[in-house]
Symmetry: C4
Subunit: 387 residues, 4 copies
């Protein structure tokens, strides 16, 4: 573990120094005015903790079980596309660090390393994220590859019927994959170590699709294929049910904010519901993930695992999410910035910071087991309590 990171902000700061601005902006930015990015963070500040005292907290239990996987802490790594942008080792480094930390890594469909490469490198459980894309054969093929490679769960992202408008990327001339332009060449050249990583080895592209629809596609063509051609705004619950039939293992739906959608998903066989607004990268103005959590958790009522994705930066954030009904949380930017800061070691550092903070928070809040966290530990901030 890198020694000098006091908290996740430290990791983010180092990543910002090491990465070209257009990459850091791509990682940290969100849709339009980034109101939802801000709301995701602010929502945690709207709750305060009411600790209990003289509870034996000498042994804290951080372990939990989500989607039939045992995790050493209730914090998994969510999907993030083209992780190689942040570090040459990309998804492989993240998967390794997650496994070594005893938690799960979720591989994005839009990864820069293949399903198989990541599975081979992984040190623990890996889940595979996918979209309900236009071509069911492609989906079925990806699912089969994930099954064959040993992925333990599917995470179906449903909040990308179309791609959100990330204005930082538009202004930076950021594309997936990025191309050198007059506007960003200086930015890239000022980060030679990053640039060396980018051009080393295989080209940065959507690795899972290189062999799928036809060989010989360029990175740019693959970007067009993945980002535009395959996007499927006509996907409905019928397609979800179909996916359910071809994947017998644990299946989670990611991007649910409305309680009725959560119930529907569980009725149709979802084993997990991931409350998420895609980190504020899709619909700007969407409700903060944490604010959507209580209604979803109440509606799901224990019939599936509920996870929270969005805005986690402190151990106490994890505590608050658990208190409001989540079994675990996923993080995105913190570990991608960890990659940018220091590759696998940076990811490990991010997880270690959160683990330590969560462990301390459990002790200080007087709850020795993440499974015992509940609403009685929370009050709304500035409410004057009984007032």
């Amino acid at each position: 573990v890198t020694r000098s990171f006091v908290n996740l902000d430290d990791i983010a700061r180092r990543a910002r120094r090491r990465l070209p601005r257009l990459v850091a902006d791509f990682i940290e930015g969100g849709a339009e005015d980034e109101a939802t990015v801000a709301a995701n963070r602010a929502a945690f500040g709207h709750w305060e903790l009411v600790p209990r005292v003289l509870v034996d907290v000498s042994k804290r239990r951080l372990t939990t079980s989500v989607l039939d996987h045992d995790l050493s802490l209730p914090v998994g790594l969510g999907p993030a596309g083209l992780a190689r942008l942040a570090h040459v080792d990309g998804e492989v480094a993240a998967a390794r660090a997650a496994g070594e930390a005893g938690t799960v890594y979720t591989l994005s469909t839009g990864s820069s390393r293949t399903i198989e490469e990541v599975a081979e490198a992984a040190r623990g459980a890996v889940w595979f994220q996918l979209y309900l894309w236009r071509d069911r054969d492609v989906i079925a093929g990806l699912v089969e590859r994930a099954r064959a490679a040993g992925y333990g769960a599917l995470v179906l992202t449903v909040d990308v019927p179309v791609i959100g408008r990330r204005e930082r990327d538009l202004r930076n001339g950021m594309t997936l994959p990025p191309r050198l332009t007059r506007a960003n060449v200086v930015d890239m050249l000022r980060h030679p170590r990053w640039l060396a990583g980018l051009v080393r080895g295989s080209p940065l592209t959507f690795a899972n699709f290189v062999d799928v629809p036809g060989r010989g596609r360029s990175a740019v063509e693959l970007g067009q294929y993945v980002n535009v051609e395959m996007m499927n705004p006509s996907a409905t619950w019928e397609m979800f049910s179909w996916l359910r039939t071809i994947w017998p293992g644990p299946l989670a739906i990611k991007g649910v904010l409305h309680r009725d959608d959560a119930v529907k998903a569980v009725d149709l066989g979802a084993n997990g519901v991931i409350v998420s607004n895609h980190g504020g990268r899709q619909l700007d103005g969407a409700v903060a993930a944490l604010d959507a959590l209580p209604a979803v958790a109440e509606a799901v009522n224990g019939r599936a695992d509920v996870l929270l994705d969005g805005g986690i930066r402190r151990g106490t954030d994890v505590v608050k999410a658990l208190a409001l009904g989540a079994q675990a949380v996923l993080i995105g930017r913190p570990y991608v910035l960890g990659l940018g800061a220091d590759g696998a070691a940076g990811v490990a550092a991010a997880l270690e910071v959160l683990r330590n903070e969560l462990d301390r928070a459990l002790a200080l809040v007087g709850c020795p087991d993440v499974g015992l966290m509940n609403r009685d530990f929370l009050v709304r901030s500035g409410s004057g309590a009984l007032a």
Copy 2:
């Protein structure tokens, strides 16, 4: 469409560069402390969207019908006086751009081009805005001209019994029409392109009144006539009923904020109610337009079209207005700044930005038809939802 505008703020920024400060301030400013200008914007931030997933949003229907007119999107151009201040092509350019975008343009009575000129140039539906001025013969004459020229609806503005105090204009020495003074001459001379437009062709004045009460009036005399002599703080509902008798077509009342006034207007024959505080240019401290909308929409209860005017800057703002009961919205500053940025192309760009944002927002919120938007898609911001 101008390519480089990422959002409406970009358009506003360009307009501010191209226009003298006193003109930009005239467009963007409001009454007194501009508290209502700010409240109009802030009100949208007090609501967050709760998207639905796995809805087929492959085909989004943005079309709506307002005041018996079919619009390609639920965004029309509201009335704005002396548009030539922003660009030499003024109202003609705006009307053209609106028509080409498939939406409506509302011509202000206080326009710098005549009813007839604008009608002739228009590419689609145009509505005509007027006041209940002192002289009924003048009103009747304007109504008859609008009818003859083919205007499809009347928009009666009722929130100007007296003119609001816009302190920026007072400090800038801004008058309608503007005059060169020692205080503003430098400001104007630094924008020679704008100045050239101003002095080219016919003088900038209230074009609809040049021929009405007597020929030979100077621009200054016309300003006095329009802004002072004709203002009618004694207009009452009786006069509204009279107007209803002389105009058989669609009639909307603009500037309503109280539910009882909305009901009264509909009882007396209004076909549309435009919830508006005149963009914060009249009564500073007036309730935000969006905050006034729910009560009005509930009270009107489908007996007339309800429109929202004030503070729209994003596609999601349109979504929120529809969810709170509006059939459509009107924009003002965004298109006038579009004019200032690039004439008709700037207006087209503003509408295109909003259309794209609205289209994407509908997809991301999981509502494929503007007519299906409703309160279930909204929660109050930072409410902790179920908390």
Copy 3:
């Protein structure tokens, strides 16, 4: 009326330029952290106006009757001690300007001109403010002088059992009356016009007490007498009742914030209740005057006049106070700063600004008579109204 004042802030700005900092701070400052000064202002922003339309507002009635006096607008001048600090003409100028504007001036007991001088110079109604000081003979003497001089009402200030701690004054070395010190001499010398006014004619002192308890007292001794010796923290309702017996005319109690105190005062014969926290100069952390108004007005229930003192800076502030139950408001800092800006002309300008703003606000809010203003014109800000 001075022409160039767009609003009250303009007047304050000019006063700040013309006055030494220690004097401007004395006028504008409040107790401790000045939280109540800020709260008084902020409270107005927590309400928004819901205008009515198509009401005949061609004739606006601003006149009201308070404490048996007819005022041309519902804005009177509250008491302020040692007005000569702001301008050499002090209380005489303020009383004259108030009378010429058709409203009332309230002379402070701690004035720099005598009861008799001000009465003689006044052009309209004057009220006299006093405290329930230790010595009933002194009070009785002041009341008799006020009666003889023709003052129309007594205003009894009850929120100064001890003097609030105004930290700006402590830091500035400000005393009443001010003395030249090393710390403030430069400040004073940089304002020679003000300094000339200060040293011209009779010395700056508590004029009403020069002849009362014994001739020959110096200004400093008088300050000690008025500010310290006479202060009476033991005054109770019994003393109020005694005052009621010696003054048959209209009597208002100033500094009431709790509904029960308002009821008590009316039960014991008060004709008016002035809701005030002394402009935030006494108890820092006290409830904002406007926030205290509704409960007091409801409790008084028409049995006495209710006035609001504190935070009025705009015509719409007056409207809001009336809507929440006040018959009129008193202003303090705005007219004292008017004195500092331009003597009697500055006071007249302040009143004229407020009159024009109030007149316009009544037209725009659709209420042609200050007596018809009510709660239906208000909503809480940012409430989403019906939400």
Copy 4:
């Protein structure tokens, strides 16, 4: 009393000038993002005072009785470790100043002077704070020493099962006791007077433990012993009951925020409940102390004394705490900064500032006795009261 301190902020400012930054940060800082430090202060601003008038406040009674001790004002000094960091006279100076002010000093277990030294120097009541550490013999020994030395009450701190993460200290290289490092040597050398105090006389260490477990330990070893080895996250209510059996005198529990814990403590024999989040130094994100107070006070219902610790900076803060159910408050940073500013005189100044502010506040709020303060004097800020 030092003359030039207008308020507690003045004292803090002087302390910041006199102390190395790492020491000032140690005193003023809190855990992680210091959200709870800020919340503790902000909570007071969420309440406003509603004064009563014409109450005889000529004699104000500030005295109260807490844990069987009569205090001259309802403000005691809470425990703070290693006070010698702030001033060479450390705990001895603080105890003396408290006694001379007629209030109580609470000696921290982690003090830099011994139980016996402080008792001997004290001029009034002293309480002794301790933790439920691993070794009951050590606790029993400390309790016996406190009894023998005449301490009047025990204060058991229960919110340190583990130590909070204070990131300022981590970044500053601050340890207990502090060590010269390359990072902080310049900071220390720039404060030679402070440094001289530090190296003068006996070494800065945890004085109470020098003789306890074994002679010859170095300061660093003692720090390890006190901060790490003895910490006891397994302490439960059983241990509290045990402590109750070995100490017959007044016993208060410090660090309670949940009403159920307060009831439990009282059920098990606590005489006092100190509502506290350790000044925001332990669990960041914990509820503000003042916000936790009403529920605790209601639950305790007079069966024990309730004290508030956290965020007191003004006399009106004390008033608000009393109104919400506290019998008294404890201060921490204000007196430690007083030490830093001017040793015992600085502590005396801090208490004198608070006493004067409280005395004035009682007069201005119309409550002549701290025992009569109640909820009727409070409203929530910005609530529009009756609205």
